[in-house]
């Protein structure tokens, strides 16, 4: 654009030979299309690139064939059972589940960490064991979140165990009675 303007301009009021005119012609190159192209490519790369590379989360599972005595070793006093329900609901109880379900409590992913930390602080480390029992309609994300919670709270002993029918019943009972929006205490 600048070259176009300056060419007739310089020819207008100078009477020197044509050779000189040519030499004095503007050497500037219009870079605008180059910038356009550059940014087009940048946009392309921004959209196709994946900045967050996936990470790996290590998981070791126990050998089921040799579990009987392992399970018995867990002291009832140090056990903390977390039940995963649907829609990110969590239920938990300490020790053994009372016959009448009085220690069966409802929680969510925000509050469970405090509960776990409280349990961890009040229990000798060798007795503490967290039992994770996903319900059949809980999702994979919740299981991983719970395992992640074990990392965050730095709890060494935890296990994923099959849920008991009694507990499934308690979950469906709680889910049936309390509105899903407010998981209030299910005492």
């Amino acid at each position: 654009m600048g070259a176009d303007v300056s060419a007739p301009d310089s020819g207008g009021h100078k009477k020197g030979p044509g050779v000189k005119k040519q030499a004095r012609k503007d050497t500037k190159v219009d870079m605008t299309p180059m910038v356009d192209l550059g940014f087009l490519l940048i946009t392309f790369f921004i959209f196709t690139t994946t900045m967050s590379t996936p990470k790996a989360f290590k998981l070791n599972v126990p050998d089921d064939s040799a579990k009987e005595e392992e399970q018995n070793q867990a002291k009832a006093s140090g056990a903390f059972t977390v039940l995963l329900g649907k829609d990110n609901h969590i239920y938990y109880y300490e020790g053994q589940l009372a016959e009448d379900g009085s220690n069966f409590k409802s929680s969510n992913f925000k509050d469970i960490r405090a509960e776990l930390l409280r349990k961890k602080a009040s229990t000798p480390e060798k007795d503490l064991v967290i039992i994770i029992k996903p319900n059949d309609n809980s999702v994979y994300k919740n299981v991983v979140d719970m395992l992640d919670e074990m990392q965050i709270t730095d709890i060494k002993r935890y296990a994923i165990v099959d849920i008991f029918p009694v507990e499934v019943d308690l979950i469906s009972l709680t889910e049936g009675t309390s509105p899903p929006a407010a998981p209030a205490g299910g005492k």
């Binding site: 550059g38 790369f45 290590k58 070791n60 996903p134 059949d136 994300k141 299981v143 979140d145 395992l147």
Partner: protein
């Protein structure tokens, strides 16, 4: 007046060179930093975790499941992965009497990078597909839900038998957020049954919440 005109004309030219320099610098950065996603047959949204270990890429055996419970297996495209894929196909063919030809086994190895998710009964007809057809083909997934017919178990058994216990170095589980637990449980059951007790879940990175024991531990460690 004429002076004013001259000044106005001069100012219309903007030197773009610096701009070009900058844009190409950014462009170069993106070109070098980019890593194209490998083609995946399943759309998977990984859960988040605080784990910061990078996903390994060598000698990988991966089991993926999406939110509909479609289960796929895949091997890494390196030498170890290809060798294991081939052994798996050979043993599977022998165990199940599929009668796969060497050509079909080669196709298995080829497809195994992208992911294989067909019941064993359909494997032979599936391997007759061309590369283009493979991309179009909607694979039903390996049946796992039925405990009696957990075919992932058969695939894993073929892998373990074929490699003679030399398990893949990195057994990965790539699951979707919304997958219902029974699928995950059955995948785990198949792993346990074949003596694989240690594996890695693929997750997206998430910051460690401050004030938690892990956070304190990391602070002290540094």
């Amino acid at each position: 007046m004429s002076k004013l005109n001259k000044i106005a004309k001069k100012s219309t030219w903007v030197d773009m060179t610096a701009f070009v320099d900058l844009s190409f610098l950014i462009l170069t950065f993106f070109m070098l930093a980019t890593k194209f996603k490998p083609p995946e047959v399943l759309k998977i949204q990984n859960p988040h975790s605080v784990s910061s270990i990078n996903q390994p890429e060598k000698d990988v055996f991966k089991v993926s499941f999406d939110k509909d419970g479609k289960v796929f297996i895949s091997f890494s495209p390196d030498k170890d992965g290809k060798e294991k894929a081939q052994l798996t196909a050979e043993v599977l063919s022998r165990q199940k009497g599929l009668g796969l030809t060497p050509g079909e086994i080669a196709t298995f190895v080829n497809f195994s990078v992208g992911g294989i998710g067909v019941p064993i009964g359909q494997l032979k007809s599936f391997l007759a597909l061309t590369d283009a057809q493979y991309k179009e083909f909607s694979q039903p997934g390996i049946p796992v839900k039925d405990t009696l017919n957990n075919q992932l178990n058969d695939y894993l058994n073929a892998l373990i038998t074929g490699t003679g216990g030399r398990k893949p170095e990195n057994v990965m589980l790539n699951g979707d957020n919304g997958t219902e637990y029974p699928y995950f449980k059955n995948v785990l059951a198949a792993f346990k049954k074949n003596g694989i007790f240690s594996f890695k879940l693929i997750t997206a990175l998430e910051g460690v919440p401050s004030g938690t024991p892990l956070y304190k531990k990391q602070r002290e460690g540094k």
